[in-house]
């Protein structure tokens, strides 16, 4: 059961401001999402190992340097940049 406190906590962790009048609706929506995902809990998994479903292990790369992207490419999508740095508003 999702509570208003859960929503506030999630908002806090995600650094989102949630207005008081949004809380009830968000709680309802989140409950529905979680209930949907709860279907997974009903599956019978006693006989199956879900630790490694794709049956893949040890996919490695060797320690060889590949070229990085030029700085212009890296910061191309940044909302704000300065002298090669990404710039964001300082967070408290």
């Amino acid at each position: 059961m999702i509570t208003r406190e859960d929503i506030l906590n999630i908002a806090l962790l995600a650094k989102l401001d949630v207005a008081e009048d949004e809380l009830d609706n968000l709680t309802k929506e989140m409950s529905a999402v979680v209930a949907f995902a709860d279907a997974v809990n009903e599956a019978d998994i006693k006989t199956e190992s879900f630790d490694n479903v794709n049956n893949l292990a040890n996919v490695f790369r060797s320690d060889e340097v590949q070229p990085s992207l030029p700085n212009e490419e890296i910061i191309k999508n940044a909302l704000d940049s300065d002298d090669g740095y990404f710039v964001v508003k300082k967070r408290a």
């Binding site: 906590n9 962790l13 893949l56 292990a57 996919v59 320690d63 060889e64 090669g84």
Partner: protein
């Protein structure tokens, strides 16, 4: 009441791989901002991380060198937190299935500091806060780290210092990290609590984050210990919190408000597959590990007869230990090489990093050749010492600087002749000496040495001079 310090360490060690943990970008320190980056390490959508195999190997080496069990199955997990130093809003780390666990580091007082686990993870980017803005450089983002988590087994500041130094020494020896604390390639989070002496219960702990100097770790721990004791003594309770140590004021202060309450919501990293470690790989890596410094230390003392303080200096730096071992091959007394290294050679290595680099012109083979000549009686110690200086200056071999006839030294007659000459050249010193000034003999001896061009044996010359002047 007497209080006891209880402390555990989380030590981050940057691995010396060439590339980042999940992409091929270089791990080189520095560089212009955001030039060692690619779509993977800045977390663009649609990219897939791929684990650097060397990271796994280095972590296993670190685990074996600290007596850990190595997991046969390990996995990566997402640690979620929202802060601009992580472009993806999560760090790929290991949660419940780390590569190494249950190890220990033994201190010189015989106490074992248990290691709970060692896991691999990616480093975060560097932030510069300026005028209400944060400038982000992701060059360091994705550089591989191991985090070495100790149990709260440390009881004194001295133990803490030794523990950190020992980890540093081990990691450098096995070559997994340069552990340069000033460059941030080794950083410690220090957990501290206090309790009445004799109590078995753990008190509430605080955590001092991101310490990168052993001196400041010691200072911060002393301050925090006193602070907690005074809180408890005045009837208060220590609050569990994360602290920052301020070097200028030598105090700790709280770092985080309640909004940062830890809730990392770890879950398995779906973009990366399981890591299987075969026993054969573990054994292969175990075999390849160099002799560890404290094993070496004991061997130098027990088998080579090196005094403990000298053995400590020789084993503190891997390159010096290797040089020493190469230079004593086939020689009779290892202490001869030890004395040359710790004397004349050390004098030329001014600081820790020079000792670490050990960039000197004389090779171990060249030193060994000279020692063999000394041991066979062909070369006198005096000549060896003065020639070694020239060898260290020029990189030339002993034989290039000293001829066979020089090596032969002086005959008794020639020495007496030189002494007589020096006496006649220094009438004032002779008079002083005869008047009782022992020191005056030194200047006469100096003349003998100079005129013999270093070939005379100083002890023998001194004896001859005393005879002549008696």
């Amino acid at each position: 009441m007497n209080y006891e310090l209880v402390s555990g360490f989380e030590t981050h060690v940057e691995l010396s791989t060439k590339t980042k943990i999940f992409c091929g970008c270089t791990t080189q320190f520095g560089g212009d901002p955001n030039t060692h980056c690619c779509p993977i390490c800045i977390g663009l959508p649609g990219t897939l991380p791929k684990l650097n195999e060397q990271v796994v190997h280095y972590a296993i080496m670190a685990g074996l060198a600290t007596n850990c069990e190595i997991a046969n199955v390990a996995k990566m997990d997402r640690k979620n937190y929202c802060y601009p130093d992580l472009p993806k809003a999560y760090q790929i780390s290991q949660f419940d299935m780390p590569l190494c666990k249950n190890g220990y580091v033994e201190l010189s007082n015989g106490r074992k500091i248990r290691i709970l686990r060692i896991h691999i993870e990616e480093d975060a980017g560097k932030l510069i806060h300026q005028q209400g803005n944060t400038y982000i450089d992701y060059n360091r983002g994705g550089v591989p780290l191991i985090e070495i988590v100790s149990e709260p087994d440390i009881r004194t500041v001295e133990e803490a210092k030794e523990y950190v130094e020992k980890l540093q020494l081990i990691m450098r020896y096995i070559g997994v990290s340069d552990c340069k604390m000033q460059e941030g390639s080794m950083r410690c989070d220090v957990n501290i609590s206090v309790r009445p002496k004799g109590s078995e219960e753990l008190g509430t702990r605080t955590e001092i984050k991101n310490m990168n100097s052993i001196t400041f770790i010691a200072k911060a721990m002393e301050y925090e210990f006193e602070r907690q004791v005074s809180v408890v003594e005045s009837g208060g309770k220590v609050v569990q919190e994360t602290l920052r140590y301020d070097e200028a004021s030598d105090t700790t202060s709280s770092m985080r408000g309640k909004e940062d309450a830890h809730d990392y919501r770890y879950f398995r990293e779906p973009d990366l597959v399981t890591i299987n470690v075969l026993d054969s790989l573990i054994e292969e890596i175990r075999e390849s590990l160099p002799e560890l410094p404290f094993v070496k230390l004991q061997r130098y003392i027990d088998e080579l007869g090196i005094p403990e303080t000298d053995a400590q200096l020789l084993t503190k730096y891997r390159k010096i230990a290797e040089y020493f071992e190469d230079s004593i091959k086939g020689t009779q007394n290892p202490r001869t090489a030890a004395n040359f290294i710790l004397g004349q050679i050390f004098k030329r290595l001014e600081n820790e990093s020079a000792k670490e680099e050990f960039d000197i012109k004389t090779t171990a083979d060249q030193l060994r050749e000279m020692i063999l000549l000394i041991e066979s009686g062909k070369v006198k110690m005096n000549l060896a010492k003065s020639t070694l200086e020239k060898m260290l200056d020029t990189g030339k071999a002993f034989g290039e600087l000293v001829s066979e006839s020089d090596m032969a030294g002086l005959s008794d007659e020639a020495l007496i002749e030189l002494c007589k000459q020096a006496v006649s050249e220094n009438p004032n010193a002779v008079a002083d000496y005869k008047a009782g000034k022992e020191k005056a003999l030194k200047s006469i001896l100096g003349t003998v040495m100079k005129n013999s061009r270093g070939k005379a044996d100083a002890n023998m010359a001194e004896a001859k001079l005393k005879e002549l002047l008696s």
